[in-house]
């Protein structure tokens, strides 16, 4: 077991980053059903662009394959990323809304209410399975802290997409700037496929090209 020795305190030694200031209030928290990250991903109430309310973990994450990222209507840098997510829908195909879900969570809940997000979603031709989410500022800050930034504050403006299969418990992260095909590839990684049988077959490397 690790234990603290007597620390030789250096006056000018750098210290660890201070934890972010935590919000003062939270909306109705209730324990969700079991799941690998049920005790880590908050079960806060969120509001979708379709005007419905959902419990984040229980209704939107548990037992699903999901992709989650941050956006805001006023943030122009979100635009090209949302176009990428819009193209991603066709690559996911019929699984979107059945097995795979995309959540775009606003960082600006004061301005991005359900009605504004609905108009925004229509602009990017969001299909069933792609939800824009808003809610209480404190709740969304907690979501960002848990999903994106850990101890790094609340800034998720570099557009990391959290992707995960919560039935299995496997999660990863990829920058949305890598493009729709690259993100769709991640979805295939976390989607269970065929169980192999027979002796192993070659996975690589493959014959080199003339330049190789």
């Amino acid at each position: 077991m690790l234990h603290p020795g007597k620390m030789l305190i250096k006056a000018l030694a750098s210290s660890a980053a201070s934890p972010p200031a935590m919000p003062a209030s939270f909306s109705g928290c209730e324990p969700p059903g079991p799941g690998p990250h049920a005790s880590y991903i908050p079960n806060v109430m969120v509001h979708t662009h379709l005007g419905r309310t959902a419990r984040f973990y229980q209704d939107l994450i548990r037992e699903k394959i999901v992709l989650i990222h941050c956006m805001s209507i006023r943030d122009e840098s979100s635009c090209s990323n949302l176009e990428t997510v819009s193209r991603l829908q066709s690559l996911i195909g019929d699984d979107l809304g059945r097995k795979v879900f995309i959540y775009s969570i606003t960082t600006d809940p004061e301005h991005d209410d359900a009605a504004a997000l609905r108009r925004f979603a229509e602009k990017y031709k969001a299909r069933d399975g792609w939800l824009f989410l808003t809610g209480e500022p404190a709740d969304l800050m907690l979501l960002r802290a848990r999903l994106f930034t850990h101890d790094g504050g609340q800034d998720c403006s570099m557009h990391l997409i959290r992707y995960g299969n919560e039935s299995v418990g496997v999660w990863g992260g990829v920058s949305v700037t890598t493009g729709a095909e690259s993100i769709a590839q991640r979805v295939s990684w976390i989607t269970p496929g065929e169980v192999p049988s027979g002796p192993p077959t070659r996975g690589g490397p493959w014959p080199l090209s003339a330049e190789g």
């Binding site: 660890a16 908050p42 990391l160």
Partner: protein, 608 residues
């Protein structure tokens, strides 16, 4: 019950529970975890179940043996650069599998923790390879497919990197060269040094998984092992009659030690927070995947290859004795990051950021039978971003214990006065200078302000050329061990201070405003800490560090990566792709042929 914010109020270090006093850890109420909207912020990491130190025996991985027959199907020569010039002399087959692994004999660990590894063990077997003897390794992914495994935080797609061998791109474990369960990948290791220059040879390497987005999880799950290079000098035989041989301790007296800090749940299963972007700290020290083991040593010299396997913790290791660990003993250091230095270096402690390794000699004949020595860590680290900079005084943290017994026979091993020459810098070879800035922006780790994009190279490097790279840490709250594949580097400057070939990076024993000091290895003084010599493959960037390095690229083409080896940072975007390309204009670089072209057998002469 003490809560996280109460620690902050008391001015104690906030962060991971790894520095919570044992008494308070015992009082933690796990029923808090059912309340999901904790007003304190991040939920506390529950401590791992208790494990009595020095009860587990050190596990020593076996030496990997080649197959006796042929691989079926045969390797495809067309898939490997220069295959016909470096025909494999030995073939290996290795399997990635899931199994239960006993980290410790006490409950709950005694039932075994679900792990991944090679040939049923973690660490995997140790390869012994020789320069001049090319090999081919067929790596089979026999892991359970996604959704069928007991290890759920890792990704059963794999790609294995031999850190830091001189390897063609298609055998190097490129992150996107991954295979699914039921597939195999052939790795062709040509086993020759860069440019056929003996000074470019390496000794202690390791192989580990490098799956895109999942390097941290897959290595943490167990996919790693050692790979050792030998040659005429470092021959692996302490009784070698060759006058050129070093005769370092060999056989069972040459022991690899892979350090990982791991966290377990109440059932003794390994836990890994997949949503952490900073870096993860385990609260149990493991050596070769046993918790705080003991190892019986004879009163003679041993060679230990100490490797920090991560995922994120930095170490400053000491060798201590006494009930309060008050007596410190000197390490004799032979290599840094697998590179022999010109001569042995002596130090009281060794700084190991993630993936750094050293070969040290410890001579236990200076102790008595029954003495106990402790390998310790004394570098304070409270979160995954990097160490605080503070070094603990006694008693420190015990990693493992050495128990001294009488020698079984004579000790014929030696410590040479002179080891190896390192390559020299030649600025006439430099074709490009580049700057790489490592930073944290908007929730991800960036290189030159951008997230990783392996679809195109960030640098195209001409084969046969050299470059000078400036590696800079833009942050003051985090540290990064930066690693580039394929080739080692020579330090030119550390924070503006030129680095000579004989310099050793260290620190003043008295506190000074300068972070580093530099000693001349030829003076053979005992240094307070060893950060490294001139040649390495990990650049440790502490806050705001800037380091200038010289590198050469020869012998192969293709794509490779440079990344932070706090592999949680790598997985959250701190990586770039660079390619080796044919020289632009002019003649292609003439490549060396260490073995000469294959000769046809002579025709039989008719009998007279």
């Amino acid at each position: 019950m003490m809560r996280r914010r109460d620690f902050v109020k008391l001015g104690l270090a906030a962060g991971a529970s790894s520095l919570l006093p044992p008494a308070l850890q015992a009082q933690q109420d796990d029923s808090r975890l059912q309340f999901l909207c904790l007003p304190d912020g991040l939920p506390p990491d529950p401590p791992s179940p208790k494990a009595t130190p020095f009860l587990a025996e050190l596990y020593i991985p076996p030496v990997k043996q080649p197959i006796s027959g042929k691989l079926d199907p045969a390797p495809d020569p067309k898939a490997h650069q220069r295959y016909d010039e470096f025909l494999p002399k030995k073939f290996y087959e290795i399997k990635e599998q899931e199994f239960r692994w006993q980290y410790h004999p006490e409950p709950p660990y005694d039932q075994g923790s679900w792990s991944w590894g090679f040939d049923g063990a973690t660490p995997g077997p140790t390869y012994h390879a020789r320069y001049g003897e090319p090999i081919l390794v067929r790596r089979v992914n026999a892991l359970p497919p996604l959704g069928n495994s007991n290890v759920t935080f890792a990704m059963p797609r794999t790609t294995s990197h031999l850190h830091n061998a001189h390897t063609a791109s298609e055998s190097d474990g490129y992150p996107m060269d991954h295979i699914s369960p039921g597939k195999f990948w052939d790795h062709h290791y040509c086993c020759f040094p860069l440019g056929c220059d003996d000074k470019e040879k390496l000794s202690t390497l390791w192989y580990h998984d490098h799956m895109m987005d999942f390097t941290a999880a897959n290595v943490y799950a167990g996919l790693a092992g050692f790979f050792l290079f030998f040659d005429e000098q470092d021959s692996g035989n302490e009784n070698d009659r060759n006058p050129n041989a070093f005769r370092l301790p060999s056989g069972k007296y040459d022991v690899p030690l892979l350090l990982h800090d791991v966290r377990f749940d109440q059932n003794g299963q390994v836990v890994f927070n997949r949503l952490n972007t900073d870096g993860l700290l385990g609260d149990k020290y493991t050596v070769n995947r046993r918790i705080q083991p003991r190892f019986t040593v004879e009163r003679r010299k041993y060679r230990f290859r100490i490797l920090n396997g991560g995922p994120s913790r930095f170490y400053q290791v000491f060798l201590a004795s006494g009930p309060d660990r008050e007596t410190l003993h000197t390490f004799t250091i032979l290599t840094g990051d697998g590179n022999f230095m010109n001569q042995p270096v002596y130090a009281q402690s060794i700084y190991l950021s993630v993936a750094q390794r050293v070969d040290v000699i410890i001579d236990f004949s200076q102790f008595k039978v029954g003495d106990r020595l402790y390998l310790q860590n004394r570098l304070e680290q409270l979160n995954g971003r990097g160490p605080t900079g503070r070094v603990l005084v006694e008693p420190g943290d015990d990693i493992m214990r050495f128990d001294v017994v009488e020698a079984a026979g004579p000790d014929n091993s030696r410590i040479p006065n002179k080891l190896r020459e390192i390559p020299s810098v030649n600025l006439d070879e430099v074709k490009q200078r580049r700057v790489w800035q490592f930073d944290y922006r908007g929730g991800i780790w960036t290189v030159n302000g951008k997230p990783v994009d392996l679809s195109k190279p960030s640098a195209e490097i001409e084969e046969g050329s050299a470059e000078i790279w400036t590696i800079r840490n833009e942050g003051k709250n985090w540290s990064h061990p930066i690693h580039s594949h394929f080739t080692e580097f020579l330090l030119l400057k550390v924070n503006g201070r030129p680095f000579a070939a004989t310099d050793i990076q260290t620190r003043s024993p008295d506190f000074s405003l300068r972070r580093y000091e530099f000693a001349d290895a030829r003076q053979r003084k005992v240094l307070p800490v060893f950060f490294g010599g001139a040649r390495r493959d990990i650049t440790t960037l502490l806050p705001n560090d800037e380091i200038e390095i010289f590198m050469r690229w020869k012998d192969f083409y293709g794509k490779y990566v440079m990344h932070c080896h706090n592999v949680v940072h790598e997985d959250h975007s701190m990586m770039i792709r660079w390619d080796i390309v044919p020289p632009k204009g002019g003649q292609p670089h003439v490549r060396c042929l260490p073995f000469g072209p294959a000769k046809k057998p002579a025709k039989a002469q008719p009998k007279e």
